[in-house]
C-alpha cells in the first residue's frame, strides 16, 4: 500500500515529462563468490529506469554470455514475462533467463534487441546492452569488448563498486573510440534493498548527461547504492523501413553496474 502511494506520487511528478530509453540486462547479483551462489536470474527489459516505465519488448535477436574468451548463445533460455506498469496502465513484455555459472571467470552478458519503432522520435532504436558478473575470484575479461556494432568497454572493473565510486568507460563504434560521445546515465529506481524510491527534485536530475573526451573515455561517480545504466547513443550508418519509408536507426551502447553502500 505504502509502495502504491509512492508510485502514485511518482506518477504525478513524472506525468508531463518523457525521458531516455534504456536497454537493461539486470542479473540477480553482480558477484558469484562460490558455486552455491551460481544460479543467476537475469531480467532483460526496455525501459525508462528512473521513472520505471516499461516499453513492450520483442524477443531479442541475440542474447549470450562471453566468458574465458568464448561466446555462449543463451537465446533459447529466454522466457517471456509480463509486468503491469501503472502509467499507462498496461501490461508490458520483458524477458527472463535462468543461467547457472559453471566455471570461474568474468561473465559478460550481452543483448542485441529487435529494432524498436519509436513514432515520437520517427526512428528505430537498437540498444546493445551489457553487464558483467564476476565468478569465483577469477577477474579476467571485464576489460574486453564483446565485438558489438557499438559498446561501452569498462575502464573501471565493473563489479565490487562502492557507492560514490567513479565508473569509467570508453565508448566504441565499429571497434573505434567515439570522440566527445554523449552518455546518458540513469539510476534503476526499483532497487528493493534501498526500500524507497528516489524523487528527483527537477527534470535534469532524472537523466544525467555527460560527455566523453576525444578518446571516447567518460567518468561518472554514482551517488546511491543500486543499479546504474550508462547509455551512449550513435546514429547507425544503415536504415530500416517503416510503412514503406526508410527511417534512421539510433544505436545505443548500454552498460549496467551495481554499487553498494560502505557500511
Amino acid at each position: 500500500m505504502r509502495c502504491l502511494s509512492v508510485v502514485f506520487g511518482l506518477l504525478l511528478f513524472f506525468s508531463s515529462v518523457s525521458f531516455a530509453h534504456f536497454g537493461a540486462v539486470i542479473p540477480s547479483t553482480d558477484i558469484v563468490p562460490t558455486p552455491d551462489a551460481a544460479a543467476l536470474q537475469l531480467e532483460i527489459k526496455f525501459m525508462h529506469p528512473m521513472e520505471l516505465h516499461y516499453m513492450e519488448m520483442a524477443k531479442p535477436k541475440e542474447f549470450g554470455v562471453v566468458t574465458r574468451g568464448g561466446k555462449i548463445d543463451l537465446l533459447d533460455s529466454l522466457q517471456e514475462t509480463k509486468r503491469e506498469c501503472i502509467d499507462p496502465k498496461q501490461t508490458f513484455t520483458y524477458w527472463l533467463s535462468d543461467y547457472k555459472i559453471k566455471r570461474p571467470g568474468d561473465h559478460t552478458f550481452y543483448v542485441i534487441p529487435q529494432p524498436y519503432w519509436e513514432p515520437a522520435e520517427d526512428l528505430f532504436i537498437v540498444h546493445y546492452t551489457k553487464v558483467t558478473v564476476a565468478a569465483m575470484g577469477l577477474e579476467d575479461g571485464w576489460d574486453q569488448p564483446v565485438g558489438l556494432e557499438t559498446e561501452i568497454v569498462p575502464l573501471s572493473r565493473p563489479y565490487g563498486l562502492w557507492t560514490g565510486n567513479l565508473f569509467s568507460g570508453q565508448v566504441m563504434l565499429h571497434g573505434k573510440p567515439v570522440p566527445y560521445a554523449e552518455i546518458e546515465v540513469e539510476y534503476l529506481n526499483e532497487t528493493a534493498e534501498i526500500g524507497e524510491f528516489v524523487k528527483p527534485p527537477a527534470d535534469p536530475f532524472i537523466t544525467q548527461v555527460i560527455k566523453s573526451d576525444g578518446n571516447g573515455v567518460f567518468h561518472y561517480a554514482m551517488p546511491r547504492a543500486g543499479w546504474w545504466g550508462f547509455s551512449a547513443l550513435s546514429e547507425a550508418d544503415w536504415q530500416l523501413e517503416h510503412d514503406g519509408e526508410k527511417k534512421g536507426v539510433e544505436i545505443g551502447a548500454v552498460f549496467w553496474v551495481h554499487t553498494r553502500d560502505m557500511d
Partner: protein
C-alpha cells in the same frame, strides 16, 4: 657491490610486497567421471604454480596432498568422502579454499 646487492634485495622486497597485496589466491574444482580436477589461480588469471593443495574430509581429516602444475592444475581420483574442502597454499600468506559437494 655490497650496496647494489642490498638495493636488489630491497627492490625484490618491494616487488613481493606488492604481489602479496594485490593477488588473491583462488582454487576451483569440479568432478568428471570420478576424477576431481582443480584449478588454482590469482585474481588476474595467472596460474598458481607449485602451490600446495590439501584435501580435507568434512571431519577435517587430511585425505590427500598435491601440488599445482605449470597451468595451476592438479587432479586426483575422487575419494569416497563427501563433501571435501580443498585448500591451496602458495606462500607469502596466500591461501584459498573451496568446498566441493
Amino acid at each position: 657491490m655490497k650496496f647494489s646487492t642490498l638495493l636488489l634485495a630491497f627492490a625484490a622486497c618491494l616487488l613481493l610486497a606488492g604481489t602479496a597485496m594485490a593477488h588473491k589466491v583462488n582454487i576451483f574444482a569440479f568432478v568428471d567421471e570420478a576424477v576431481v580436477y582443480t584449478e588454482s589461480y590469482f585474481a588476474d588469471g595467472k596460474p598458481v604454480i607449485g602451490g600446495k593443495i590439501s584435501v580435507f574430509s568434512a571431519d577435517k581429516r587430511l585425505l590427500l596432498e598435491g601440488k599445482s602444475d605449470q597451468q595451476g592444475n592438479w587432479q586426483f581420483s575422487q575419494p569416497a568422502e563427501k563433501p571435501l574442502t580443498l585448500v591451496i597454499e602458495a606462500g607469502l600468506g596466500h591461501r584459498g579454499e573451496f568446498q566441493l559437494k
